[in-house]
């Protein structure tokens, strides 16, 4: 059985991406839920997952210096390109990017690369099925690597439990976490809010998806906060041949459902809920 994967991104945060993604997760059948926003995961607040298994995520290794062996030759300072050493060869591990160059150049083996526990990855159960998520420790790097781990876990869970769909709530931005959350998926849905900044960022998100040759669909959230901008988005998508699968009006149901720790489609059957359901039907048609 082919497992289909869809990632929901938006470029900019706060435009309702997680609200919409979580509703899809509640509507879809036979799925694995993925929260790939490992920096600031929020899906679990609506899903209340029961954690079944937990694994430690080791990020990139970090340099550790043994001052007793150090002869202050200055090679580490000269060769570290990330400013992790002061001119007097003092190491600031929090600036280390784990490249291991200092370990290689140190003539007396005073530096060793050691593992660093950078986060945790979880496999859980929810009322909608299995959920795969993670937590990156404060200030850690390599979050793209953690997203890749989460996605691999999701594929494994899908195989083991016979699920045929993976819905991924993606991270904001266009960098390593976003790239890791969308490479190789079947479809990307870009949620756009019609503010100038929302448009600016979502255009960049669309470009990233296209850069990796992934089919893109668009949905406009809070379309009525600026109908002029909404028109521009529709025109842009039309010109670019991007299908717009729906528009959702501004609605405080989103916040109310969040306060109640539920998805919108569970919380109410109002206009927002209806709009999301229609969008999901459209997406399902494209996915099959």
């Amino acid at each position: 059985m082919m497992v289909k994967e869809i990632t929901i991104i938006s470029g900019k945060g706060g435009c309702g991406k997680t609200t919409i993604a979580a509703s899809f997760m509640a509507l879809a059948k036979n799925l694995v839920i993925v929260d790939a926003d490992v920096d600031a995961a929020d899906v679990h607040l609506l899903m209340q997952p029961q954690i079944k298994s937990k694994e430690i995520f080791n990020g990139l290794n970090v340099a550790k210096k043994n001052d007793e062996l150090c002869i202050n030759c200055g090679k580490c300072y000269e060769n570290c390109r990330y400013g992790a050493f002061d001119p007097d060869n003092t190491l600031h591990p929090e600036k280390c990017e784990g490249c291991a160059v200092c370990e290689m150049v140190c003539p007396v083996n005073a530096i060793q690369m050691v593992k660093r526990n950078a986060g945790e990855a979880y496999i859980s159960d929810t009322r909608f099925g299995p959920m795969v998520h993670a937590k990156l420790h404060a200030g850690e790097e390599a979050s793209g690597k953690l997203v890749a781990l989460v996605r691999q876990n999701a594929k494994n869970v899908a195989k083991e439990t016979g699920k045929d769909l993976i819905i991924i709530d993606g991270p904001p931005g266009i960098g390593c976490t976003v790239i890791a959350s969308l490479t190789g998926v079947n479809l990307v849905l870009v949620v756009i809010e019609p503010s100038l900044s929302g448009i600016h960022d979502s255009m960049r998100a669309i470009k990233v998806a296209r850069h990796f040759n992934i089919p893109v669909l668009v949905c406009i959230n809070k379309y009525d906060i600026n109908e002029e901008n909404t028109k521009n988005i529709l025109k842009f998508c039309d010109d670019e041949g991007i299908e717009v699968v729906g528009k959702i009006a501004y609605d405080d149901t989103a916040t109310k459902a969040m306060m109640d720790e539920k998805t919108v489609v569970e919380y109410s059957d109002g206009p927002m809920s209806q709009a999301i359901k229609e969008i999901w039907q459209q997406i399902e048609k494209v996915l099959i």
Binding site: K12, G14, T18, D42, E97, G98, V101, M104, E141, G175
Partner: protein, 279 residues
């Protein structure tokens, strides 16, 4: 204590970080604005003046002389980011995974590796006489924006108060933006998502050791959970910005609050004043 560099950050995007950064910079004297969100810079949208390119940002990337290369695999074994692999008789280099550390060049026993510049983005400048703004743009498809943030930070002028708009989240780009600032303002919303993401940011700024306070945006949409949390944790609450549809409308059009509703200027200037009193 000096208050030269203030970073505006939030765990989650879309909480109003940029709104606070722009309006704060516009409400204090002798300020400048540096937008460190190189994946999705937004501050410039609130300025009429266009952004003009200042410079390219590149990182060094290896170039392999395949005539000299003996396929010894030393570089591939060394590279911590799996940017090099040897497949049969072929050396493969994945430029987008390379961090430009220079390690492969050092380790190559036959000097088959030299370096060239790999373009990852640009830095632009804009704004006006009163308030200059700098931002960076990461190229589409490039994964790592931190080198651009590092260069951007270098544009801070010591004779001014610099407001940094940080990228969202708690990972490396946000940390790079917050590091070296004198004060950090964490922006959040009074909702479960807002509180959850705030607690993550608090962990980060506490670890970095930067003094910080909280601004609640869209006050009124949720409940008092964020305020309670701040009280329990002894975190100063610097301001509450009401959930006002007019603010949202101005925002969608790219008009700063202090321009569309000048009555808010006192509030933003007040944030700066309370920080001065706190530190």
């Amino acid at each position: 204590m000096k208050l030269k560099k203030i970073t505006i950050a939030s765990g989650k995007g879309g909480t109003g970080k940029t709104t606070i950064a722009v309006n704060l910079a516009m409400s204090i004297d002798n300020a400048m604005l540096i937008d460190c969100d190189v994946e999705g810079p937004n501050s410039h949208i609130f300025f009429k003046e266009p952004m003009i390119k200042l410079k390219d940002v590149s990182i060094p990337a290896p170039v392999f002389d395949l005539d000299i290369c003996t396929l010894c695999e030393k570089c591939a074994d060394f590279c911590q980011y799996n940017a090099i692999s040897i497949l049969g008789e072929k050396l493969l280099f994945f430029e987008e995974l390379c961090h430009g550390c220079g390690g492969c060049k050092i380790i190559c026993p036959v000097n088959a590796i030299t370096e060239k510049d790999h373009h990852i983005g640009i830095i632009e400048k804009g704004g006006n006489k009163k308030l200059a703004i700098y931002h960076g743009l990461l190229n589409i498809g490039e994964p790592f924006g931190v080198p651009i943030i590092r260069e951007l930070k270098g544009f801070a002028d010591d004779s001014k108060t610099t407001i940094f708009d940080s990228p969202p989240g708690t990972a490396c780009p946000a940390v790079e933006a917050i590091r070296d600032s004198d004060y950090c303002i964490l922006v959040t919303e009074p909702t479960p998502f807002g509180l959850h993401d705030l607690t993550l940011s608090v962990d980060v700024v506490r670890e970095i050791g930067t003094p910080f306070g909280v601004v609640i945006n869209r006050d009124g949409i949720g409940d008092d959970r964020v305020e309670k949390y701040c009280k329990e944790q002894n975190i100063p609450l610097l301001a509450k910005i009401p959930n006002d549809i007019n603010i949202a409308r101005l925002y969608s059009k790219g008009i700063p609050i202090v321009e569309g509703m000048p009555e808010y200027k006192t509030m933003f200037a007040g944030i700066y004043k309370s920080i001065m009193e706190l530190i």
